[in-house]
Symmetry: C2
């Protein structure tokens, strides 16, 4: 790939343009907003000048609702040899394009699984996609050359290609991204009118479950509006579990011992299925479930304390895989939980104790 056009220079489009430019591809930038495309060009993402002839690849990075129209216009103009979009849903745009009667051999739908809280070309970075899955959804009639152009883009952005059917992709993101978002919001919503005393009892569990409930509602309405069917299907499964669990809890209130036993086994069932599902969530290295051991260290809330802990862990030759910092309620002291591979935990605990740290446990 030597030349590309990026249509839509927001966060994703500009990030891809920055990555391609950095690797020597000539990138032409297009956006319906001249200020936005100007910002992207000023950041070094490419040129605002139009290409002299067809480029190798056109990357359409506009919101889901505009994908089909933008692609159709580019294809009719013969802008490129190959075309792809990067929208977060894949089934809808594909069907829209088919309905337009376009020749889709030169098109492939894709979805890089990257993002951040901020949007726009100023938030873009060349490394946004590094190490992240980038889904490709080739159709039966997609040209191999176009698939290879997409694979080259993914490689230049240092992402990890994952090939999926368009509708399977939409069901997958409904499951692993859209449903967790809505359920997190629903748990958090219970707190909106709760007593202040109850809210004071919140611990790390609810803090984790509701973290993404802080997300931008308008962005999520756009995402969910483009994938309502698959999300409703997954949520209906959650609703059925929920109904059974409420019934099981009501049985646990019964005076009848058999009913109480049924209730307990109903509750246990959903907890066990939760164990099984959680065990499949890939760890941070993408390989199987995370199974780290935790070494918990008490610290004061001073700059430098964390540095000393990590320096001491480094001296012990231990690689800390994850960290959780938990401050005590209303006090200026806290707990640092260092997660390490189980084999390294005893050595880390010994090394930290020797260097004067107070461990919990």
């Amino acid at each position: 790939m030597r030349t590309a056009v990026v249509i839509g220079t927001g966060l994703i489009g500009t990030s891809a343009a920055l990555a391609l430019t950095a690797r020597g591809v000539t990138v032409h930038l297009v956006d319906h907003d001249p200020a936005v495309v100007h910002t992207a060009a000023a950041r070094g993402a490419g040129t605002e000048e139009a290409p002299e002839g067809p480029v190798d690849l056109a990357i359409v990075a506009v919101p889901p609702a505009y994908v089909a129209g933008t692609l159709a216009e580019a294809m009719r103009g013969g802008v490129a040899r190959g075309y792809l979009d990067v929208a977060s849903v894949k089934g809808g745009p594909k069907r829209e394009l088919e309905a337009m009667g376009l020749d889709l051999t030169s098109y492939i739908g894709t979805h890089p699984m990257s993002g951040k809280e901020r949007s726009g070309p100023l938030a873009a970075t060349a490394d946004l996609f590094e190490g992240r899955p980038w889904v490709l959804t080739p159709a039966r009639d997609t040209d191999t050359e176009v698939l290879n152009l997409a694979l080259e883009l993914v490689a230049l952005c240092r992402a990890v290609p994952v090939v999926m059917d368009a509708d399977a992709h939409d069901r997958a993101v409904a499951l692993v991204s859209h449903t967790p978002q809505l359920v997190s919001s629903m748990v958090a919503a219970r707190l909106a009118d709760a007593d202040e005393t109850a809210v004071r009892l919140c611990g790390q569990g609810i803090r984790d479950v509701t973290r993404i409930a802080a997300s931008d509602p308008r962005m999520w309405v756009e995402i969910l509006s483009a994938n309502p069917g698959p999300v409703a299907d997954v949520l209906a499964g959650v609703a059925s579990d929920l109904e059974e669990t409420v019934q099981a809890l009501r049985s646990l209130q019964s005076a009848d011992e058999d009913k109480r036993r049924d209730g307990a086994s109903g509750v246990e069932d959903v907890l066990r299925r939760g164990n099984a599902g959680r065990a499949r969530v890939p760890g941070k290295h993408g390989g199987g479930p995370t199974a780290y051991e935790t070494v918990a260290v008490l610290i004061s809330d001073q700059p430098g304390e964390l540095a000393r802990i990590f320096a001491d862990a480094g001296r012990a030759g231990v690689n800390v895989e994850d960290v959780r910092i938990e401050h005590a309620t209303g006090q200026q002291a806290g707990l640092v939980q260092l997660m390490v591979v189980p084999a390294a935990a005893p050595a880390l605990a010994t090394a930290l104790r020797e260097r004067g740290w107070a461990l919990r446990e």
Copy 2:
């Protein structure tokens, strides 16, 4: 307080005994299992010998189902001046004791909001309760002297006392602890039979939402069995939100534009209420919502990298409030997100860049 009896030397009982012993209180240990009480004594939690006369405080730390019976026996034996339990539910045991016709002026129900994955006296530590809320549920006829003994215990354990009504406590833990557990399990349960390709797309959002789905089902069946009514009530509220959201998503699939608009506003409503609830979750210092800014640093996966980052942050005089480490999928490189008070973020970013770190954003 000079003398105490701890009945039930598991994680909570032994931890309280260790804290009291460390602060000079003479603690007598009792458990129905001689091996368990022997282990607790060997850890320095107190003596296995029976007290010569009534002690100041009896701490009953047995599972919820045994609280009332154990307390009744201790009270009838005149073991102490004051009695308390530490079970995770408060309404049920209180009603059981009332039904037994005991004089409850010398009793107060309490619940320390501490715990860990492991149980038993070997997992106990004197600092288990430090900085954590410890709920006290005095009744109208609780002696002030007994309330003060409980407050002294909380102070000696360096916990933070929170006074609540027993039933309000049970509703609060249903809301902030028991419901999040079940909902996390239900989201995770959707993954149990999902396609491997879909599971590969899991990101940090679902990872956080399902973290506690890894909890021990048997322990949670015990907890939920002791508090089924309040949990069912909160879950019913979630179920109603869920049903409305499924309807809203179905409306978003409609060909009718008005229906789609209604659907979008239904989805937006639950997301906004989620924002409002999440904003109330106390930050790690226990004071209002967390509002940190994130500085994201790219690192290689070598021991010592984190130490260098934290050392550089410390040199810049910046106190890191929280950390999240995100490894790239299938690669040996990752991203460290440093959370700091907003005022400190620019200085930290500058300092890290000057010291050669690659920042994202």
